[in-house]
């Protein structure tokens, strides 16, 4: 612009007189669900290692419901429920979840499939299973079932 010509480079010594305007288009990097590459010592699971454009190619979905099909309703409610369920399970099984939950909705039931580490003795797992199933069933007014699969440690796919 015109006034930009008036700004002389050596006037930078004057405090507060220099202004610049970034005039090119913005192109931010995609950061969604991606683990940034490190030095080669960061273990990642299969789920974390694949960015979201691999869904339906190398990955499946973490939440399965029919709300997003044509003519179906309440997709937003399903998403909010998913958020709540994930936060709830993260808090109820502290430090035990080895991977993201898989939520399946079948008829009026919700099935939570969790991969857990063997941090707690088995009877404590059963206590938490009974507790979460009952609490979530009463909260959502539908049968909620929990399916656990235990692994000794997080299943590493590669080291980034």
């Amino acid at each position: 612009g015109e006034w930009a010509v008036r700004v002389v480079p050596w006037s930078r010594e004057l405090p507060g007189a220099w202004r610049a305007l970034h005039t090119s288009a913005v192109c931010a990097k995609n950061r969604a669900a991606r683990v940034r590459v490190g030095k080669g010592d960061k273990p990642v699971t299969y789920e974390e290692a694949h960015p979201p454009h691999y869904i339906a190619h190398r990955k499946g979905w973490l939440s399965l419901h029919t709300g997003n099909l044509d003519g179906e309703e309440h997709a937003a409610e399903r998403t909010v429920e998913d958020f709540f369920l994930r936060k709830f399970m993260l808090g109820t099984f502290p430090g035990c979840l080895a991977d993201q939950l898989v939520l399946k909705r079948r008829a009026n039931q919700v099935e939570i499939c969790a991969l857990v580490l063997r941090q707690l003795p088995a009877h404590k797992f059963y206590f938490l299973v009974g507790y979460s199933e009952t609490l979530l069933s009463h909260f959502y007014k539908c049968p909620v079932r929990l399916h656990l699969q235990t692994v000794p440690a997080k299943v590493v796919y590669k080291y980034i």
Partner: protein, 607 residues
Amino acid sequence: MAAGASARCLSVRGALRLPLRCRWAGVCEPERGCRFYSKSAALPKDEGTDVTGIEQVVIPKKKTWDKVAVLQALASTVNRDPTAVPYTFQDDPYLIPTSSVESRSFLLAKKSGENAAKFIINSHPKYFQKDIAEPHIPCLMPEYFEPQIEDVSEAALKERIKLKKVKAAVDMFDQLLQAGTAVSLETTNSLLDLLCYYGDQEPPADFYFQQTEKSEELEQTTEENNKRASVKAAHQAGVTWKARNNAERIFALMPEKTARSYCTMIRGMVKHRAYAQALDLYTELLNSRLRADVHTFNALIEARALMANEKFEEKWNGMLELLKHMSVQKVKPNLQTFNTLLKCLRRFHAFGRMPALQTLREMKAIGIEPSLATYHHIIQVFYQPGSSAKAPSLIIYDIVNELAGKAFSPKDLDDDMFFQSAMSVCSSLRDLELAYEVHGLLNTGDNRKFIGPDLRRNFYYSKFFGLLCLMEHIDVTLKWYKDLIPSVFFPHSQVLIGLLQALDVANRLEVIPQIWKDSKEYGHTYRSNLREEILMLMARDKHPAELQAAFADCAADIRSTYESQEARQTAPDWPATPLNCVAILLLRAGRTQEAWLVVAPTRDRAI
């Protein structure tokens, strides 16, 4: 061209797999084109024109199916999976129980988790009010346990009765009387119901957890102890009817007493073991010219039988008199009447046999269908545990013949004790055919649910499997072993020792290493009698080379369990016999170095 068209028709129809007749029909009449018609639609037309004098077509009545009929039909095609655990457990090797103690503790943990969740839901009901279920599901809403109405009124009393708050209800009743308001007869009767049901105590908060822990040692005691222990555990321990308690006080305060009030009081007294008072109250009822109902008569029969200091004949005559009163007052007996009679006859030992048969005949004459509990009581009357050594009665055969092929529905609280007593009789009679018939009855229809809780199921299958080991051919026994263990019950060491002895008799000792491996999974790693039995059987004779090698591996494994057991506990003695057996087995397989290690450390100990 016709052939070409028909060939195309043929290929299309061939793809659809129509019956041959239609295909040939198509070829014979190509001008009809590719018309599809089913075989059955073609038939009646031909028949109607050709055959004269056909019968009337009877259109059957429209069947109404249950909502879950399709699911039930599908379920009937699927058998039990002998490799899976019951569905209440999570299907994961870390979370599958390996012994009956573990399975009980997991189920209790799950239940206590549910109770914890219910506690939180009921303490914060405002977060669980949003009702998105269509139709409404009442069991998923929070419950209110605290009475809401605070003022002194009859509605408040009714609410406290509904919430089963015994003390609060009695206090409210007293306050109402002091304030001078009359309480209606209906409410007083329901207050009496509450008091008599709970015996003037608060309802127990954790009834489910009151049953005592049954460890394996207890299971291994004799049958008698088992039955006695379970009877004691089932009895409401310690709640006896105190004289002049709230129920009696309120009963005395009532201006008019209906038959219902008397009946409730009598039933409450009998439940809490105040038999003489119950019978006295009954005479008072008769003096007031009121009629008792059938449940009260059942309670009175029980009271008559349990009164102390009377001989059997007098008690039986008393019970017969009560039955006569029943017919005079025109009260029809029900299934519970006869079951109570039979249950009380159990205590009369040998005297009870004739009356029991008479009762059964009377039942059939009136037309009441006996339930499994009836047959259980009859078995108990005829096969007293620890009775004399006379020839045992053969009534069990009649019973099983009568019950063959019948599917039962639950009608009495004691229905689930039938299979346990039947199988124990089969086991004492050593009759395998009868045991198979009883097991067949268990698998008819839905009778599986009458097997009862864990302890009874274990008892039943232990007896069944023990009988199989004794009497059946070894291949069949091993098949049952794979089928039943561990998916149906966890065997205790006596059962496994029985199996080992059966293997010994049938000369199939090569299965022993497999049995040892399985026993470790069921929690018997440190069970001394089992280990000694295994070692003795293996070490007794010499065997061909590879079998000897397998035995030596097994022996080394058992030795390592002895060592690890020692490391955990402080210095128990190594018994001599297993040591000898281990050493012999290792030597026979040529592992002299290890055998030396077995013998050498014990040089310091006194053998």
